[in-house]
Symmetry: C2
Subunit: 171 residues, 2 copies
DNA sequence: TGTTAATGTTTGGCATACCTAACTAAATCA
DNA sequence: TGATTTAGTTAGGTATGCCAAACATTAACA
């Protein structure tokens, strides 16, 4: 029974924004959706009807807009993808927060669930593996700004990493 | 003079495919483009005219299709993004080759040049940093398939990593 | 060289998703 | 409560990008 209709990027964006508005403003309003989507108010109505027809929102003219259970499920999935991708772009790839958000907003439609799940595991791994961690990301930043990696620095880095791990064990 | 028109995903796909066909078959044919795009032959003609109008391909009815200098530049940029993203998905995130290609094909339109550049640097870093490398990716695979990371394994892993680095220095 | 098959084009139609402008309902305030 | 502002809807229009089917051209081969 799991309908695997694939929704358009636009539709997914609407759901994500409605969820967002629901969370911050209690209820989603047509005007705010238009504003967040960067489109005209008139364009929103059509999509609201569309979303309602698909059973993703509760909607009647001039009434409140809320996500149905199904709509919320999808919106939350998109929101989750967004956060995961943004986190990777921002924390690992060092993309500036605002830009990371903008790109995540586009990438979230391109990646499917299993792939995003692997990305979560990967950032988890970076955060938890003694060979990686915050200082390793620091090393990456350094790697980016220098021409050729200095092997001597590598020795230091490795030793530091080992020391840190040992203190983790004993601490 | 650097025209920064942003092209549609569809248009970028056409260019990428034309480049691909140019490289493998010497010349791009309407039928093959349709096949690769998974669309009907009739739909291709319209876009060819569009691409020609934008100065991205050399095209006249019933004639050969080749990329102009400008078109090739864009196609190569897209192709580059595709390869980089696919490599990351496949080698790092362990996404199966075919699927990695399909997702890369969608992601390549979502990521801009600077972001892709950071992704290259990141995979470069993974390949070159003594704390990362192929065995570290192996460790990630292991991390994915186990519930909780085993700290004892970490000790081994770290020591192996250190040994490997030392042998690199002396070797 | 004439016929046939393959390839490419044209046409009309459809769906999505946006716009503007006119209109309607609801909310606000005097 | 009535007038005005704000929010939401409707209607008609545009651009993209696809389809199917009829048509035109080119290539293949007999």
């Amino acid at each position: 029974m799991n309908k695997k209709i694939d929704f358009s990027e636009s539709l997914e964006d609407y759901l994500e924004i409605i969820l967002n508005l629901q969370n911050t403003h209690k209820v989603a309003r047509s005007k705010d959706i238009a504003e967040k989507m960067g489109i005209q108010r008139g364009s929103v109505t059509g999509m609201l009807k569309n979303l309602a027809k698909k059973g993703l929102i509760n909607y009647e003219p001039y009434g409140f807009i809320t996500l149905t259970r199904e709509g919320k499920k999808i919106a939350q999935e998109i929101e989750r993808r967004h956060k995961i991708i943004k986190d990777f772009l921002f924390r690992v790839l060092q993309i500036k927060s605002e830009k990371a958000d903008a790109i995540a907003c586009r990438m979230e439609h391109a990646m499917d669930r299993p792939t995003v799940n692997m990305l979560v595991k990967f950032t988890d791994f970076i955060d938890n593996c003694p060979r990686a961690g915050a200082d390793w990301i620091e090393a990456f930043v350094n790697f980016c700004s220098t021409e050729k990696p200095d092997r001597k620095k590598c020795k230091n880095c490795l030793e530091q990493c080992m020391t840190h791990y040992n203190s983790l064990l004993s601490g």
